[in-house]
């Protein structure tokens, strides 16, 4: 390994202060020159991944999440800033000398090698002896449920099996962290869901830090301990899945995570536990979480579709507004209503198909929407 220097001590509100973070990016920036212009793929990112954590980098394509991961893996060098692995500055250390392994998008298995040789590749490069290699590969193939397929070529395996080979090939080296680049992107929905559970199980079993890159917010929410939502090269929000879902820090996060209804209004009154917004024929109450807002300020608030109740009567408490049903979509376990509020916002409402066999409302009918104020969230009031 090259020279090492200790990572700067940073205050760490959530993790245990004693533990050295598994991965730390400090002021990392990556710029490219393209057609005479400087393009920032990643701008000034600071983040810390804890030991044993399942950490996701989530964002649309082109947001910089893959570049960030490649800088951790050692395939790219940051233009500015430093990368620390277990407190050691690895900036500039090539990929083959970093104690992290990667599961590639579409796996990048060695097509000319058997499953066994694929998985043994890293161990052989590190000079692990034959018996040990055999033992560890065998054990790892058992974990990923591929025992008996050692002699197969990757092309003779199903997509899910290839995925597991890629996982085994990386994990068998017992890396300090495993980086996964959209590993489930090539699988069909059912298999993807099964693999999500599987990945989570394996991660618990081996106890290795996972950094997971995905553009699928559902995947990130399901599996992650924490998520960094990225947009345009920067981190929009870094928090637990629940916090990100329920308290999106920005309009972008609100829009990107789940289906979100965005309502804009002006504060008409500020009370002890929130602000009141006059909204068409109804009213909306939204908690301010201690943030200071004044009467006349414009707020953007979000309400998740499953939190909204549709009724025929005007409610007398909480937040409510009248609306017209524009579209009804039956989704099996639930029904999705697309409605237009009296103030002109388009709002989606999910209703579980629990007992009522018939639709609550038909297309074109006038209805009342209502929700608990605590289920709405004013953006920027974390």
């Amino acid at each position: 390994m090259t020279e090492t220097s200790p990572a700067p001590v940073r205050d760490d509100p959530e993790g245990t202060p004693a533990a050295v973070p598994a991965i730390e990016l400090a002021g990392v920036r990556k710029s490219f020159q393209a057609y005479g212009e400087t393009v920032h793929a990643v701008r000034d990112i600071d983040l810390t991944v804890h030991e044993g954590e399942f950490f996701s980098l989530l964002g649309p394509s082109g947001c910089g999440k893959t570049t960030t991961m490649r800088m951790i893996a050692g395939f790219e060098d940051p233009t500015e800033g430093a990368v620390y692995l277990h407190g050691e500055d690895v900036t500039g250390v090539p990929a083959n000398k970093r104690d992290v392994n990667m599961v590639f998008q579409s796996y990048a298995l060695f097509p000319h090698m058997s499953v066994f040789d694929n998985v043994a590749f890293g161990l052989r490069r590190r000079g692990v002896d034959k018996a040990e290699t055999r033992k560890r590969v065998g054990a790892m193939l058992e974990i990923v449920d591929l025992t008996g397929r050692e002699k197969r070529r990757p092309s003779e395996l199903s997509g899910g099996q290839q995925q597991r080979v890629a996982l085994a090939r990386a994990l068998v080296n017992r890396p300090r962290a495993l980086l996964l680049d959209e590993p489930l992107g090539a699988l069909d929905l059912k298999l993807r869901q099964a693999m999500q559970v599987e990945l989570k199980r394996i991660q618990r079993e081996v106890g290795i830090t996972f950094v997971y890159v995905t553009h699928d917010q559902g995947e990130a929410l399901t599996m992650s301990d924490r998520i960094a939502v990225m947009n345009d090269g920067g981190i929009e929000q870094l928090d637990t899945p629940r916090a990100i879902y329920e308290r999106p820090a920005s309009r972008f996060v609100a829009g990107f995570i789940g289906t979100s209804n965005l309502i804009t209004g002006q504060i008409t009154a500020v009370g002890g536990d929130g602000a009141e917004i006059g909204y068409g024929e109804g009213r909306i109450v939204v908690p301010l979480n201690g943030a200071s807002r004044a009467v006349g300020d414009t707020v953007e608030l979000t309400v998740r579709p499953e939190k909204i109740v549709i009724g025929g009567e005007r409610p007398d408490r909480g937040s409510y507004t009248s609306a017209t049903v524009a579209e009804v979509v039956y989704l099996g376990t639930s029904t999705s209503y697309l409605v237009t509020t009296a103030a002109g916002d388009d709002v989606t409402v999910f209703v579980q198909n629990a007992t009522n066999a018939d639709d609550i409302a038909e297309r074109g009918s006038r209805v009342w929407l209502s929700w608990e104020p605590r289920h709405s969230y004013a953006i920027g009031t974390a």
Binding site: P94, A95, N96, A108, L109, F110, H112, M113, A170
Partner: protein, 287 residues
């Protein structure tokens, strides 16, 4: 009716190519086989006599030319690999968006007539020319040292002239190597050399294999290089066949020699394919 059409369609597709092969390859081949067993001359005519001695005589008289041709073919093919691989590698992995430009540059000389190129060679390599002249005047080479009209010149010419047939398949094979697979090797602790040795090289071997077949066969049966760049001791079997056919009108001998050459080449290629063309070799190279 529709089903019949569907069943016939694939055969219709191979019809043009198939006919072409039959007319221009199979028929002449069968005919040549028949001629190779005839006796006679152009004036009195040739008779089908099943004269197998055309073959044994050919081997007796020209055995040394066969051996020399195979030997030259082997050296030139190996030299082609040595030259083509780094070039193809560089273009495939390092040339960036100028790939096609470099490839074109590499092939550019081959748009010029072979004879013009060879004449250029003769200008450059002549005894007192720009290369040998200074070396001789500095006494780095003996006075009567020469490159032209030697086996070295013939093999060099063969190597040069058939280089594209090696570069292109290797390039295509390398181009098809997924760079993520190479990155995966780096990620799994392989250094530059190990990544090349264990991943890139085995994955490009099919290209080398194709290149060897595309080079070795025409190189071994070539006659132009030997006649232009060679001396009296560098005659190849192609020259013999050409002389027998065109100058001596010995059609039977020429055909028998051609078939012997073809058999030797097929034998060589099959042996090579058996030894190197299998999955196991690629797999072994990866370990």
């Amino acid at each position: 009716m529709r089903r019949l059409k569907g069943a016939v369609a694939p055969y219709l597709l191979i019809l043009p190519g198939g006919l072409w092969l039959v007319v221009f390859f199979a028929v002449p081949l069968v005919y040549m086989a028949s001629v190779s067993l005839m006796t006679g001359n152009l004036i009195d005519g040739f008779e089908q006599t099943w004269h197998w001695r055309n073959y044994t005589d050919g081997l007796d008289v020209y055995g040394d030319k066969f051996v020399r041709s195979l030997w030259y073919g082997l050296i030139a093919t190996v030299a082609c690999i040595a030259l083509a691989y780094p070039a193809a590698y560089w273009i495939a992995f390092r040339a960036g968006r100028h790939k096609s430009t470099w490839l074109f540059m590499l092939l550019l000389p081959f748009f010029v007539s072979f004879v013009l190129r060879t004449i250029a060679w003769k200008l450059v390599l002549t005894d007192q020319g720009p290369v040998l002249g200074p070396l001789k005047s500095w006494h780095l080479l003996p006075k009567d040292f020469h490159v032209l009209d030697s086996g070295f010149a013939v093999v060099s010419g063969l190597t040069y002239n058939f280089l594209p047939f090696m570069v292109l398949p290797i390039y295509v094979a390398l181009e098809r190597v997924d760079h993520r697979v190479v990155e995966a090797a780096y990620d799994l602790y392989a250094g530059r050399f190990a990544a090349f040795r264990r991943v890139v090289l085995p994955l490009s071997l099919p290209g080398v294999f194709a290149g060897v077949i595309m080079t070795f066969v025409p190189v071994t049966s070539d006659y132009v290089n030997a006649s232009v760049l060679g001396g009296p001791d560098n005659t190849m079997i192609g020259n013999v066949i050409q002389t027998e056919y065109f100058t001596n009108s010995e059609y039977a001998t020429a055909s028998a020699l051609s078939f012997t050459l073809m058999a030797l080449l097929l034998l060589g290629i099959f042996a090579y394919a058996r030894a190197l063309g299998t999955k196991d070799v690629l797999e072994a190279a990866g370990r």
